[in-house]
């Protein structure tokens, strides 16, 4: 069966003053495989996915998701459509408890799913009990059970990243974009995260932006390499590993 295209961009460009961060990029992503974007710092990876999830407006070009043009949709609408982004540097609500962080994300999904409505259905509201259940579920999934009442900013860095992933999952994604999830994690934490991502990818499409080659080659089924705002190469991990152009860009010539 031919892979189903989930997301595509045509001629996507972003310019800041004299800088062209992303230059005329055609990027395609297919369902049911972990896709990774790699490239050196400043290659335009984050700018590209920022445009995909609507954080950054594009200077020109178009974006399609599930066959619909989403170029003009607000970032909120894109999240509702299923594109969920987790941040490179943690962007949790630091002053709120972990419960609140995940609940914020979960309650919207529950509202849209009939089983979450329970008793308060006629108010279009979600019962707090349903939210609590969902929060526990997602925290358990990322291995952070029992930290509900802790203030998020007081968590260790690695746990903040996991909390961010939990928030992403709770938002009910069809496409989960993980921007450098392993950044700043210790070796042992990275191993757990790889397991987690693999687990997530069973039910959700994952787009991974990563520096750590080990992680990428370990997880990704398809890799896109970016450099200088453009796509340098695409292919399976082994194709990429043996591509001399990639080697050049990544290691200097």
């Amino acid at each position: 069966m031919a892979p189903v295209k989930l997301l595509g961009t045509q001629g996507l460009t972003r310019q800041y003053g004299g800088l062209i961060a992303v230059n005329d990029v055609d990027f395609n992503l297919y369902e049911d495989r972990i896709h990774a974007i790699i490239g050196p710092n400043g290659a335009g990876k984050t700018t590209l996915v920022s445009m995909i999830c609507g954080r950054t407006p594009s200077s020109s070009g178009r974006i399609n998701f599930k066959g619909k043009d989403i170029t003009r949709l607000s970032s909120a609408k894109r999240v509702q459509a299923g594109i969920v982004y987790t941040f490179q540097v943690t962007s949790i609500f630091g002053n709120l408890s972990c419960f609140e962080n995940v609940a914020l994300s979960a309650q919207r999904t529950l509202r849209e799913q009939p089983e979450g409505r329970a008793s308060l259905e006629k108010w279009g509201m979600v019962s707090e009990i349903e939210i609590e259940k969902a929060v526990s579920k997602y925290l358990l999934k990322v291995g952070l059970e029992g930290i509900e009442s802790q203030i998020a900013s007081t968590l260790p860095y690695g746990h903040q990243k996991l909390l961010e992933v939990a928030m992403g999952l709770a938002a009910g994604p069809e496409l989960l974009i993980l921007d450098e999830p392993t950044q700043g994690l210790a070796e042992s934490e990275i191993d757990n995260l790889i397991q987690l991502i693999r687990d997530i990818s069973k039910s959700v499409n994952v787009l991974l932006i990563e520096h750590n080659m080990e992680v990428v080659f370990n997880l990704a089924e398809h890799v896109t390499v970016m450099d200088n705002g453009s796509i340098l190469a695409e292919g399976t991990p082994s194709e990429i590993e043996n591509n001399p152009a990639v080697q050049d860009s990544y290691l200097g010539n």
Partner: protein, 235 residues
């Protein structure tokens, strides 16, 4: 000699450096490698006085920099090329360079020398620096730091987001500076170039120095690179 002794520092409440000890001699190029978030940039910022030092010290020859206010540190001859270039975007190129010249009241000869290193900038002097291309911005950032006639230059990912040819220009400049006896602390992602120009390599992980090596040894024995940076070098 730029000495960092047992330095711990923090951002807000989070500790980011843990007992770092490091020395850089005049005219020496020290390459600092490690994953994103390992603490390389924080180390440079700590030297510049931008991050709160909890314990330990930073000294230059007999002067203890860690006791100084941030704005006095460059006056000892420390130039900083920050990550992401961070020019003053609304200022003209000329004015950005002037910011460097003013630190130690450098003469116009210095400007001439700097412009001889980056001749392209001569035609850009009156342009607002925010409108330059990435490569040109990196030249300005480097030139701006050189204008204060640094004894030591701290460079944070100067090749980030640049085309290979531009990266090459930067590395050439670094090598030229070495001949002028400037000590350089270089944080880089592009491993090969770093190995090529550095006299010594230091790896960082989780806010600490984890290993010191020299480029030759690394070339023969690339496991450390794999371990700390996560790439396979092509040797």
């Amino acid at each position: 000699m730029l000495k960092i002794n047992n330095l711990s520092s923090r951002y807000a409440q989070v500790k980011v450096l843990n007992k770092v000890t490091l020395k850089v001699k005049e005219g020496e190029i020290l390459g600092l490698l490690g994953r994103n978030g390992a603490g390389k940039s924080t180390l440079l910022k700590s030297i510049m006085g931008l991050v709160e030092v909890v314990s330990g010290s930073i000294s230059l020859d007999e002067n203890i920099l860690s006791e100084q206010q941030a704005h006095n540190i460059p006056k000892y001859g420390i130039g900083y090329v920050p990550q992401g270039r961070r020019l003053f975007p609304e200022l003209m190129v000329e004015e950005n360079l002037k910011m460097g010249l003013l630190v130690r009241d450098s003469s116009t000869d210095v400007l001439d020398w700097v412009l001889s290193l980056f001749p392209l900038l001569k035609s850009r002097m009156k342009q607002k620096s925010g409108t330059l291309s990435g490569g040109e911005q990196q030249m300005v950032a480097t030139a701006r730091a050189l204008c204060l006639q640094p004894k030591y230059l701290l460079m944070d990912e100067p090749s980030e987001g640049l085309m290979p040819s531009m990266t090459e220009t930067i590395l050439e400049t670094v090598e030229k500076l070495k001949t002028e006896n400037v000590g350089i602390l270089l944080v880089e992602q592009k491993i090969e170039g770093t190995l090529r120009v550095s006299d010594r390599i230091v790896f960082m992980e989780n806010g600490s120095i984890s290993e010191e090596s020299d480029p030759q040894k690394l070339a023969e024995n690339p496991e450390s690179l794999m371990k700390y940076v996560g790439v396979k070098a092509r040797y």
